[in-house]
């Protein structure tokens, strides 16, 4: 494939562009789901194509095609140059990239079992078994169990001399049920919502997840929610972990610290950010126990790779250190805006036909000192919420509302009744500054976000947010509509 890559680089060099790269990508994807005893999704797909990115006359152009041959590569490269020339009609300064050494390297996701070697029948068998357990009670009107595997093989070459081959694999699985009774619908899922748990590994994830072992419990909790009382409207201590805390990190810290957003380049769509660059190193984002670390080297992380799509080597850095804003998600174009001479390496594209954009890396809340049981004992009036059901945050990443599948009241140090429709609202810095306890490394676990949408055209990216449960003081919970 690098021979094809060379064609694009030769043309780009000959035309005297400022920078150019080509990424040839082959993506194999397998999606399986069973819904209510029927096959819901079943697709095994392969796509192959390439995208050429050109920086010419100080402006960007990008073109892609799904036909890999010398003529098409020439045509597409020239088209990218034409687009860059058109972009230069409206610029105020030339785009300059932060320097990065050239690399020749191969990197791949560590895996024990190749999921594409597993017959579909075996996967479907497990999904049907889960489905039959989930639907044993008539109030369960909808049950979906699913698996998804994606392998992306990339060949990336730049005009600066990098030749990077990467083979990145992710596996995911989970299930959810909807219990319905007299106009009430309650969801419960395992291990997490939005398609289940996804991590960068092979089919061995299926055994680790113990899907079947949890089906009955999850079904019964969904039924219990139908009879439960609503989450009270109150201000209480909130304990969250798992994929809800992962989403909280994602929405209120991850997106807020994408440097392209911060600089206004996403204003027309996703919005901007309150975490502006003059706050770097000064702004108290959270309480002193809050440490949030971006890490493209995290084992199992969905954003873990050898290099990003700017050909920058994977790194680990603080976004929030001891509660203070300490870094951003960067690419080579914008790193200079915060006085850096090197990008932290968080520029990624979905597939071959999208331009790389600044993305959230794996971003994790580092563990604290508490045992979970001690944290609950220490909470007089609180609520534990689990598994995200609803998420919404404003265009500067300040005001948010989250809803979860299930809540448990904490009364005088004891986890007591189940409550339904738990929601909470807050303002990002106030919320993170109210964090007074984080559980220790025994509870620290990776949670995958496999559906992060950003950009125009919209692209989906994946990343992980490891965390252990944490407590936030006096949070507004139980937001209601009276109708």
């Amino acid at each position: 494939m690098f021979n094809f890559c060379k064609k694009a680089i030769e043309i780009a060099d000959k035309r005297g562009v400022d920078f150019g790269d080509i990424r040839i990508i082959e993506t194999r994807r397998r999606v399986l789901s069973v819904k209510n005893g029927e096959i819901g999704d079943m697709d095994d797909s392969v796509t192959l194509g390439f995208g050429v990115r050109i920086l010419h006359k100080g402006a960007w152009g990008f073109a892609s095609s799904d036909k890999i041959n010398a003529e098409e590569i020439k045509k597409t490269t020239l088209k990218a140059i034409q687009i860059a020339r058109a972009s230069s009609m409206l610029k105020e300064r030339n785009v300059k990239l932060a320097p990065e050494p050239a690399y020749r390297d191969f990197w791949q996701t560590p895996r024990l079992i190749d999921p594409f070697e597993i017959p579909m029948e075996r996967s479907l068998e497990l999904l049907f078994r889960i489905d039959s357990v989930l639907r044993k009670k008539p109030a369960i009107k909808s049950a979906v169990s699913s698996m998804k595997f994606v392998r992306e093989h990339q060949w990336h070459m730049t005009t600066e001399g990098s030749e990077i081959e990467q083979d990145i694999l992710s596996s995911g699985a989970g299930f959810f049920v909807k219990a319905v009774e007299t106009g009430e619908v309650q969801d419960r899922s395992y291990p997490s919502t939005h398609g289940g748990q996804t991590l960068s590994m092979g089919y061995e994830l299926m055994e680790n997840l113990k899907l079947l072992d949890n089906a009955e419990r999850v079904r019964e909790e969904a039924l219990a929610l139908l009879k439960a009382k609503d989450c009270p409207q109150d201000q209480v201590d909130l304990i969250i972990g798992g994929n809800q805390l992962a989403l909280q990190i994602h929405e209120s810290v991850g997106h807020a610290t994408e440097l392209d957003r911060v600089l206004g380049y996403e204003e027309s769509f996703a919005g901007s950010s309150f975490a502006t660059t003059e706050k770097l190193g000064k702004f108290r984002y959270g309480s002193p126990i809050v440490n949030l670390v971006a890490d493209a080297t995290l084992p199992g992380g969905l954003a873990t790779a050898g290099y990003d799509d700017d050909a920058v080597k994977a790194q680990r850095w603080h976004i929030v250190r001891d509660g203070v804003l300490s870094g951003y998600m960067t690419n080579r174009e914008f790193a200079h805006a915060i006085g850096m001479n090197r990008s932290w390496g968080s520029n990624r594209a979905e597939g071959y036909d999208n331009i790389p954009i600044t993305r959230i890396c794996n971003l994790s809340l580092m563990p604290g000192k508490w045992e979970l049981s001690d944290l609950i004992k220490d909470t007089k009036k609180g609520i534990i919420m689990e598994n995200n059901r609803l998420w919404s945050i404003d265009q500067k990443r300040l005001n948010f509302q989250f809803g979860c599948e299930i809540g448990w009241l904490v009364e005088n140090g004891r986890k007591t009744k189940i409550v339904k429709n738990p929601t909470y609202q807050g303002i990002t810095p106030q919320f993170w500054n109210s964090c007074d306890a984080i559980c220790n490394e025994n509870h620290w676990q990776l949670w995958g976000v496999a559906n992060c949408g950003k950009g125009q055209p919209m692209q989906t990216a994946m990343m992980c947010h490891a965390n252990s449960p944490a407590r936030f003081k006096k949070v507004k919970v139980g937001v209601k509509v009276n109708y």
Partner: protein, 444 residues
């Protein structure tokens, strides 16, 4: 079309005598993005994606590829045949449908000038817009995109339906200090986009949005501009009007057919064959789309079906299948919310006290049956006093049941605007709604 016919021929011959279905999507799409008055991203993609379903008794295999040469297609079909050997039986699997007459697209939807709109053409239009916004002391952000797409559904039972259309969208956000404005136009013909009109609307909004004041969250009369209504309607389309959600008891209309479910001023239809949302006249099973009245004068009248949900409800498909198989079921994709008779200006004048909302941001759903949702106001939120815009306000979060809100509609605007939707588009008017619930405020 000939290219798609050739692809089908190769697939069918490789599959032998087995029942086989092909879904082919070709598209060329280009988008120029601008921010802070300069072009920031500029992309173009061309692709053909082929999805193949092969059936054998109650077993089915589905494979996809974008390699459409003879070898690539043969390899893909062979993979499906291999997968079939290991496949589990699905006792609910339907056979492939026989062809039904598909009406031609009701409107002209393909325009050569739109397919050929170049990067230089886009840069020129954006440049003209930026000059205007700069002249007004504002900064411009947005996108201008154009492209064409052809979708073909064919099967070995004789179905062959193919549709070609172009589209272009100009979306503009402008900023003056802490005031934001926004406007957008979506057309099949780029020549019909009123670039000056879009710029003028966004600039006027941002100009009026400077130095927003804080107001207390609570219940207010609201005037929702069409883009804000569209954000809510999109969720109603998926969770309220789809046959599968209806059958599972998850729709607000479940068990209420023929009963009043929304305000009597509301009529909502799905119509791909004519009118403002005309589009592809067949679905992803190749079945002809039919016009479906979903709600008439507030009364629940129908939901859309694919063959599977149609069978369960003993009614034919309405032609609203998504690509099979899927877990969503059928979804309406060409939805028209019928306009009312109140001029926007008059709607404003009729309001003693209320809030005018340009657009919602990051809307999401908590309870599907009541369509309880939350989201933020964006790009121009204003307090109305004695029939006039009195001052801009800081953005608010709504937490509201859309079913409840659509029961409290006081007036509907006399003009429809087109908004993009999942797999299609929507035409919606502005709405004036009483007691709309804002649950909290933000800081800007």
């Amino acid at each position: 079309m000939k290219e798609h016919q050739k692809i089908c021929g190769k697939i069918f011959s490789s599959a032998g005598r087995r029942p086989v279905e092909a879904l082919i999507s070709s598209a060329e799409f280009s988008l120029t993005r601008f921010a802070d008055n300069v072009i920031s991203q500029n992309v173009s993609k061309i692709s053909t994606d082929v999805s193949i379903r092969i059936l054998e008794g109650r077993r089915m295999a589905k494979v996809s590829t974008n390699q459409t040469d003879a070898a690539g297609l043969k390899r893909t079909v062979e993979k499906a045949l291999w997968m079939l050997k290991f496949q589990k039986e699905d006792r609910h699997l339907l056979g492939l449908p026989k062809p039904l007459p598909v009406p031609p697209a009701g409107e002209k939807l393909y325009f050569e000038n739109t397919a050929g709109f170049s990067p230089e053409d886009r840069a020129k239009k954006i440049n003209e817009t930026v000059k205007k916004t700069k002249g007004a002391g504002q900064t411009a952000y947005g996108t201008l995109d154009n492209g064409w797409s052809r979708t073909t559904v064919a099967n070995s039972a004789g179905v062959f339906a193919s549709h070609l259309e172009t589209s272009a969208t100009f979306s503009l956000t402008t900023r003056r200090g802490d005031g934001f404005g926004w406007a957008e136009e979506l057309q099949n013909d780029v020549g019909k986009i009123d670039f000056e009109g879009v710029a003028a609307a966004a600039v006027e909004k941002a100009g009026k949005a400077v130095r927003p004041r804080e107001i207390k969250p609570g219940k207010y009369t609201v005037i929702l501009e069409p883009a804000a209504v569209a954000e809510m309607l999109m969720f109603m389309n998926i969770y309220g009007f789809g046959g599968r959600f209806y059958l599972e008891g998850q729709s607000f209309m479940s068990g209420k057919m023929g009963q009043k479910v929304l305000n009597e001023k509301i009529t909502i239809e799905d119509d791909s064959l004519a009118g403002p949302c005309a589009g592809m006249p067949f679905d992803f099973e190749g079945m002809p789309r039919k016009k479906v009245v979903l709600v008439a004068d507030g009364i629940a009248r129908g939901v859309v079906h694919d063959r599977k949900t149609g069978l369960k409800m003993k009614t034919p498909s309405t032609g609203h299948s998504l690509p099979q198989p899927n877990t969503y079921g059928p979804i309406p994709v060409n939805v028209v919310f019928k306009k009312g008779n109140t001029e926007f200006k008059r709607m404003l004048e009729n309001t003693r006290e209320g809030i005018l909302v340009t657009q919602f941001h990051y809307v999401n759903i908590l309870k599907p049956v009541t369509l309880e949702m939350t989201g933020m106001t964006r790009n121009g939120t204003y307090f109305i006093h004695n029939g006039e815009i009195a001052y801009p306000v800081k953005n608010l979060r709504f937490t509201e049941s859309i079913v409840g809100a659509f029961n409290r509609v006081e007036e509907a605007g006399d003009r429809l605007c087109i908004s993009p939707s999942w797999f299609g588009k929507m035409a919606v008017p502005a709405l004036k709604i009483q007691d709309f619930n804002f649950s909290s405020a933000t800081q800007f």
